[in-house]
């Protein structure tokens, strides 16, 4: 059976509302569902879902950069780290509330991002790639160096957490309730960030920047300041990662140098590619995959949590930490070749088997073919995806 829909009609709108409602339902039910042992104990599971939200926001930030500039950053772990330390330091040492730290994390990362991106005003090419790589490697050394503020290699934690207020009727002393509350708080933050990203992309400036990525000269002729936009986008993507860092700390308030190494950047990039390069919604499946894989690996190799599989040979191997990287690297290679558009692209292909969405009646399309309306997600970025992996011209 095939469903055939025409974009802009009532049926199509109903389909979209249905899809959205389903997604919302899933997100709301997540903290109440229990998965099998392999996904950890109930609190661990919930914390991982919350962690997924943070990763999704970070991947989204990275995707903004790739989508707009076609460039990859291998140093955004530093911005995640910066956001995290802003949260931990202000809350632990200066007794701020977490919520006060949130805008600071965003703004500080935005500003640092802009400063770092500044030379891009004058330099074309790979400058940002090189500098971001350096930043990614430098950040942990700074954490060590300023040990008195950051706690250095021993890390720094906060004892206070965001507790559910009374009107929620959640019990602050319950094992699960505070975690559920934090999940929902961060869910709201994540939704705000996603809406923000979508609006940035759909804005006039956003479209202009996509145009710039595909054809810098044309954009310049149209009076768009290419380099300034580039700097701002870099700042924004850094800001998103800062927020993600803050989210990680709300979830599990502990930061140390190794949690924000280049390895984290690579993990984010893997999530990004797995989800879908230069898409908005791809950040979600991407984040789920990287968090779940890291977690599964921990479950399987931690001697204390061996579970029924009893992989003792692995748990006793000192180099077992390398396996996650190997799995991630292999996955990345497989995806670039087999499904270069990531999960989102895969989903679209799958959906295309059951649902056909005709863009517009042919006579309308011929009048203004460039004006196809983005549907469920605002991936204008994806629609113009020429330097991107796949030609994602259809939209989920």
């Amino acid at each position: 059976m095939r469903l055939s829909l025409i974009q802009g009609t009532k049926q199509h709108r109903a389909y979209l509302v249905g899809a959205w409602a389903f997604a919302a339902l899933v997100l709301i039910l997540v903290p109440f569902v229990r998965l099998p042992w392999i996904f950890g104990n109930p609190t661990g599971q919930l914390q991982n879902w919350t962690r997924t939200l943070a990763f999704a926001v970070a991947i989204l930030g990275l995707n903004l950069l790739i989508g707009f500039s076609g460039q990859i950053s291998i140093g955004h772990s530093a911005f995640v780290g910066l956001g995290a330390y802003v949260a931990v330091i202000t809350v632990a040492d200066h007794h701020w509330s977490y919520f006060a730290a949130l805008p600071v994390a965003f703004v500080l990362c935005f500003v640092v991002g802009c400063v770092v991106g500044l030379p891009a005003l004058r330099i074309k090419g790979l400058y940002l790639v090189v500098v971001t790589f350096a930043i990614g490697i430098v950040f942990p050394t700074l954490v060590i160096r300023y040990e008195t503020i950051t706690g250095g290699a021993n890390g720094k934690g906060v004892t206070s957490t965001i507790a559910p207020p009374t009107w929620t009727s959640l019990d602050p002393r319950d094992r699960m309730d505070p975690l559920r509350y934090r999940y929902f708080v961060l869910l709201i933050v994540a939704v705000v960030m996603f809406v923000l990203a979508r609006n940035i992309i759909k804005s006039r400036a956003g479209r202009a920047m996509v145009a710039q990525r595909d054809n810098p000269t044309a954009a310049a002729i149209n009076g768009i300041s290419v380099p300034i936009n580039k700097v701002i986008i870099f700042g924004l993507s850094a800001g998103f990662c800062g927020v993600a860092g803050w989210m990680l700390m709300v979830n599990q308030p502990f930061a140390s140098d190794i949690s924000f190494s280049v390895q984290l950047s690579i993990t984010l990039i893997i999530g990004l590619v797995l989800g879908g390069v230069a898409t908005v919604s791809g950040a979600i499946p991407g984040a789920i995959v990287v968090v779940v894989i890291s977690h599964l690996f921990e479950q399987l190799t931690d001697a204390k949590k061996l579970g029924p599989l009893r992989m003792t040979w692995l748990a006793s191997r000192p180099g077992r930490g390398g396996i996650v990287s190997m799995v991630f690297g292999a996955l990345l290679l497989i995806f670039v070749f087999v499904l270069p558009g990531g999960f989102i692209d895969g989903l679209r292909k799958l959906r295309a088997k059951f649902v056909t969405i005709t863009t517009r009646p042919a006579w309308l399309a011929s009048i203004n073919p460039s004006h196809s309306v983005p549907a469920l997600e605002a991936s204008v970025v994806a629609t113009a995806a020429s330097p991107v992996l796949a030609d994602n011209s259809t939209i989920l």
């Binding site: 500044l118 030379p119 330099i123 790979l126 400058y127 590619v273 390398g322 670039v336 270069p340």
Partner: protein
């Protein structure tokens, strides 16, 4: 502004003896050279005034050793960048992995060190060729993003494998240079230069000469330069682009492996899966300062960064050695703000 000035200076017809050198200087931007040299001299005089000539000289020579290593790694990066327009993020990891192979051969199989190093270099070339053929060539060379992602995948794979196989605990690498305790240095004008240091200088210089000859005197070298300059035209004259880039990957891998082994010939560094990270960042800095597309720039940039590292660590006490990496990064950003094409980046003159 700067670019325009330099561009006009290139069009002046050079003549007479040394015109080749002069043209070369003009190509790489004579102002960049002059300014850099000026800053260098002024700082050097300051440092000499601070702690005396002897200490300065010692530090200068130490910095040179680091610099040559960074130059080698930067050379590998720039080779790939010039030809493909991408940064091979896996360059450092490949170097690390095959340095481990050299270690396995020399320590566990008891091969002579140099034979082990050469074998590792060869193996790394074979590996890089194969990897290029299977995972890079299927992509359109003009489409950089997927290729960059593939190099990141390779980085993750190699790092993971190295950690799995060799763990994270540091291992001592056999020195390829004479290293008998207390007889392992020479005296150069009052400064103590270890044979290892001297060996690094000589090895990198020889290697650079070798690479230059390879690129300038052989057919594959010419093809490589042609592909770096204009991909489409290279195809039109019948250059096999795929195989030429494969050569570039192989060459860069071998250089990287050699550099990895040289990093470890300093007895204070140990072999462990992340030992290349620091050198890699300094090499990135060197390549960027050098203008990313210039082989000469990579070498000069490497030497400069080596000096920066030693001098900042030695003289600028409030920064100290922990922050050298961060300071170098800051300096790069400032340099690039002032001179976008890097100190030695070639100013391209394109008249239509």
């Amino acid at each position: 502004m700067t670019t325009a000035l330099d561009a006009t200076s290139v069009s002046i017809e050079p003549f007479g003896i040394g015109r080749k050198i002069r043209r070369r200087l003009e190509e790489i931007g004579i102002r960049g050279v002059a300014v850099t040299a000026g800053v260098f001299v002024v700082l050097s005089l300051t440092f000499v005034a601070m702690d005396g000539l002897k200490l300065y000289w010692q530090r200068f020579l130490d910095g040179l050793a680091n610099g040559f290593i960074y130059a080698a790694v930067a050379l590998a990066l720039v080779l790939i960048y010039k030809a493909t327009g991408i940064i091979n993020f896996a360059q450092g990891s490949m170097a690390m992995f095959f340095t481990f192979i050299a270690w396995v051969l020399s320590r566990q199989q008891s091969w002579p060190v140099w034979l082990a190093i050469l074998t590792a270099m060869l193996l790394s070339s074979v590996f890089a060729s194969g990897f290029e053929r299977v995972f890079i060539r299927p992509f359109d060379p003009a489409n950089h993003l997927p290729i960059t992602i593939v190099t990141i995948a390779l980085l993750s794979l190699i790092d993971g494998t190295a950690i799995y196989v060799w763990f994270a605990d540091p291992k001592a690498f056999p020195s390829p240079f004479p290293s008998k305790p207390r007889q392992d240095y020479v005296d150069i004008f009052g400064a103590r230069v270890f044979y290892a240091t001297l060996g690094i200088w000589i090895t990198v210089i020889l290697m650079t000469i070798g690479v230059t000859l390879l690129l300038n005197r052989t057919k594959i070298g010419l093809a490589f330069r042609a592909v770096s300059s204009n991909l489409e035209s290279s195809r039109l004259v019948g250059v096999n682009v795929g195989r030429t880039l494969q050569f570039g990957w192989a060459l860069a891998a071998a250089i990287g492996t050699l550099a990895g082994c040289l990093v470890l010939s300093d007895s204070r560094t140990y072999l462990e899966p992340s030992f290349m990270a620091k050198s890699l960042v300094f090499a990135f800095a060197a390549a960027t300062i050098g203008g990313l597309d210039s082989l000469v720039g990579a070498v000069v940039g490497g030497l400069l960064v080596g000096q920066m590292q030693t001098m900042i660590g030695g003289y600028v006490h409030f920064i100290g050695s922990d922050l050298v990496l961060a300071t170098t990064l800051a300096i790069i950003i400032i340099v690039l703000l002032v001179r976008p094409s890097g100190l030695f980046g070639k100013v391209r003159v394109e008249r239509v």
